[in-house]
Symmetry: none
Subunit: 530 residues, 2 copies
């Protein structure tokens, strides 16, 4: 199999995304995660523009890497000075990484109008900077900034910038679509021409997503001969983001037969995406190709039937290959066979025609009629099945509660308080808490009371809270559906509540969320015992 | 300029997305929004599989459309029956739309193994169903399901399915990448071959995003000769979603010079994307190409310098063309001209350079930073401008309020009460009300108190109440944005409130809603007097 090198820039170009800022610990976690996925190069910072990155490069040496080589990112020397006099070049050297990515101008307009030097001097800057790092024994990637725009503006010059890097001794010429505006067929044709003009040197691609083409442009460059792909693992980066490597790896390895990462790591593609999102503190889009929660989720009845007959009828790959899972949504459209699959996970002995199955289906219909929707709330679904089958005992009772919200005078601050009394096996606990709004106050009070009995609840935090107003015609008296997603750092689960009262709907979902955690803990204890 | 038809399936394929469910009102809003964007075709439902869609097709006839043609979606007739005996075909006819999209099998494996009929019978099913609808005077799109997989499996048969549709009289052959697994170069080559084999008929593309290629595949098909593109306006759909039309329209029209929508509507591309997200109650990704909040947001100092020197140095297009705005994360500079348009409705004399304009812009930025969004909340926007200009006097003051919610014992019913004290020109009124939940109780109490002074408030009712959790990571302590739509039977207006407390956010929007009604009453009185 032909090899395509993967070069992850989550820590450099990814850190340019709005809302992203990594601590040193975060960065070390990302480096480990990329190494464990078998990613070949990790671009970990820009030491010239950011002194903190230099500190990080010292720290990262503590980590033993099994697969990845670290690289640092920086510019060619500035105009009209010696390479050795350039502070940025010195910082890059100090980073002491195996590889360096040097970006330089390949668009004539940028040379004359943005950095304001001559076309010849820019070529010298490229060649001398690359040569300097080659002499120091580095693997050198030349990032040809705005290559495709440059090619359209002045093809000879864009190619000359690549040739300068090659003459300097560069190991790889990386064609950058810096503004992200290039169309796939253009990338294909221009990359083909580069591969033709410069056949003896490795060509790479660095794409941005401003036209929604970053993944496609990367693949098109590979089709045209590129063998090195830069991006960020889950695609975040400045503006619309960088090329999403999790999508690219899956496409290249599963669809086009290239060798990007060790075959046995493919099944970690999804969990690593979740981990990177967790570290970056962003929500991974549910519809992310291959790794998103909905990527293999079927709603239409016909599609569900088809997948049950032959999974490839409505799935482009088997989700297990990338460590993801198939899900059938519990909508009105989905028939009883979908529900039976879920029942069988809890009680394999129940048949489709049994009274139990019928009762569960009736109960689900009743709840759906009330406004429940079990899409993305499998845990509530599981609890309902267990309760119907008598395979469930609640871990606590909520005896009573009261919420007070008040703004005592004009322009004073609105405050919310909650009091709850819970009962665990006959022992009562009364607590109160304050919060941002009534739901938050109630959540805080409930956890506070229950942690007395179940300390493991301290691990749980809510990762998502969604409110949907049903039948919004009846406005503030309308029913609301609250969907809560919780995590204890290992598992993620979702629960749902419906009521005409947002407090009650939230409470139903909160209680279920806690019950699920306690149920999982119990199951794990039993497993350990058996 | 060559024309490419845009066909929006937000209401059909988009409704297959996890978590999406549209009310009839939502659907009517989407139809209006697409018509106002100049989208040529709106696929509004699947009447055969969903009886509710049939009701909707009756309702939608009330709406006067200026640009769009409505289409309904359904299958070819079932095997071994007459077209006229097929219930699905009958429902499709009953929908009474100008166009119909008929999907049929073009992958031999699906014919034999999924719908389990003969290859010949499938071709008859296609041809006869298309012919039936042509006889009824419809514009017929043949959606060749799994066309690209079919082409790879049995090219002759895949092409035969297209020929059958053409023989039936189809107006357009839509090549569907139903599983979303096809790579861009494959789409390009196969579409080229279709255009070569069937040169006299319009070819379309319907792409799914399972490989992250839906947008690129749509563009590649157009490069290969397709002139009809199906997708959903902001890309949601089953699994990883459909081709994102907002991205495709921008790419085709701005980059490739095709004519998709009237030129003058391009500047509404972004606001329409926000509107559709709002109706669907989903969060528009900040990094969405062209229309996302971060799409033209610059963080790197070098990029900001570059953009200040020449905007095209680090931007592939000018954001104003698509109604978006450039943002610099360090020093924000907003698109003031959009705001000026709104200011001029209230105070035509104010110039762009005036202090008043500057203060309004600053205030809006402050509110946006807090999480406000004025798309679809024009009335709040108007009140803010009036307040800043001193052209506003509140009709009442809310002196104080208190909310109590309690469930006094286990299994007893949860009840909500609100007390409010208002002050109108020095006269106080204290009232209490009960409600379904705290917001409803507060709304009822507030109206009850104010109707004493302003009887016309009895005409007002809320027609919509939407809650959006912002930054859902911080879960129940996250900020919420509440959008309220009100009507007095003549006018409809929307207001918005943001707070970390859902009660407070609702209250802000409720108060504004009442103020707008009283302002309109006053304006009408003045008009009658003059």
């Amino acid at each position: 199999m032909s090899r395509v090198e993967i070069f992850d820039s989550t820590l450099r170009d990814g850190a340019q995304a709005e809302g992203i800022s990594f601590s040193v610990e975060d960065k070390l976690k990302v480096v480990k995660a990329m190494d464990e996925m078998g990613i070949e190069y990790i671009e970990a910072g820009n030491p010239g523009s950011n002194p903190k990155d230099l500190e990080f490069f010292k720290e990262v040496k503590q980590i033993q890497l099994n697969h990845s080589k670290l690289t640092a990112f920086g510019s060619t020397r500035r105009r009209n000075i010696k390479v050795t006099d350039d502070a940025n070049v010195q910082s890059l050297l100090e980073a002491d990484t195996q590889g360096v990515a040097i970006f330089g101008k390949s668009w004539d307009f940028h040379v004359t109008d943005i950095i304001q030097t001559t076309l010849d001097e820019n070529l010298n800057m490229i060649k001398e900077t690359v040569a300097f790092f080659k002499e120091k024994g580095k693997e050198v990637f030349f990032d040809a900034e705005h290559f495709f725009d440059g090619f359209k503006s002045n093809k000879e010059y864009a190619l000359a910038s690549l040739k300068a890097a090659k003459e300097g001794g560069a190991d790889c010429l990386v064609l950058c679509d810096t503004n992200g505006g290039t169309m796939p067929l253009e990338v294909y044709e221009m990359t083909k021409e580069v591969a033709k003009v410069l056949p003896e040197i490795k060509v790479g691609i660095h794409a941005h997503n401003d036209s929604g083409m970053a993944v496609a442009n990367s693949i098109m460059a590979v089709e045209a001969g590129a063998r090195h792909v830069q991006g960020t693992y889950i695609g975040f980066g400045e503006r619309c983001g960088n090329a999403n490597l999790s999508t690219i790896i899956a496409n290249l390895q599963l669809k086009k037969g290239y060798d990007c990462i060790p075959e046995e790591y493919m099944e970690h593609l999804t969990s690593t995406a979740m981990l990177i999102a967790e570290i970056a503190n962003i929500t991974l889009s549910e519809k992310e190709p291959f790794v998103g929660r909905s990527a293999f989720t079927h709603k239409g009845g016909m599609h569900i039937d088809g997948v049950n007959k032959a999974s490839h009828s409505f799935e482009h790959i088997n989700p297990e290959i990338v460590g993801n899972a198939r899900r059938f949504l519990m909508s009105e459209v989905a028939g009883r066979s979908t529900i039976m699959k879920k029942i069988h996970k809890i009680a394999p002995e129940i048949t489709k025609e049994s009274d139990e199955a019928k009762q569960i289906v009736d109960r689900l219909k009743e709840l759906e009629h009330e406004g429940y929707q079990f899409e993305g709330a499998e845990s509530t679904f599981e609890l309902i099945i267990r309760k119907q089958l008598g395979k469930y005992k609640s871990f606590f009772e909520l005896e009573n509660f009261k919420i007070i919200g008040e703004q005592p005078a004009k322009d004073s601050i609105f405050s919310s308080y909650a009091m709850v009394k819970v009962n665990v096996d006959g022992t009562e606990e009364l607590t109160a808490a304050e919060g941002d709004g009534p739901v938050h106050a109630l959540d805080s009070a409930l956890r506070k009371a229950l942690e007395v009995f179940y300390p493991s609840l301290q691990e749980v935090h809510l990762t998502d809270y969604k409110v949907r107003v049903l039948d919004s015609k009846s406005a503030t008296a309308a029913k609301v559906r609250v969907l809560i997603t919780s995590s204890d750092g290992k598992d993620i689960w979702s629960t749902v509540g419906v009521s005409s009262d947002i407090i009650e709907a939230s409470l139903i979902a909160l209680i279920d969320s806690i019950e699920v955690k306690l149920l999982r803990d119990l199951e794990n204890k039993i497993k350990a015992y058996i």
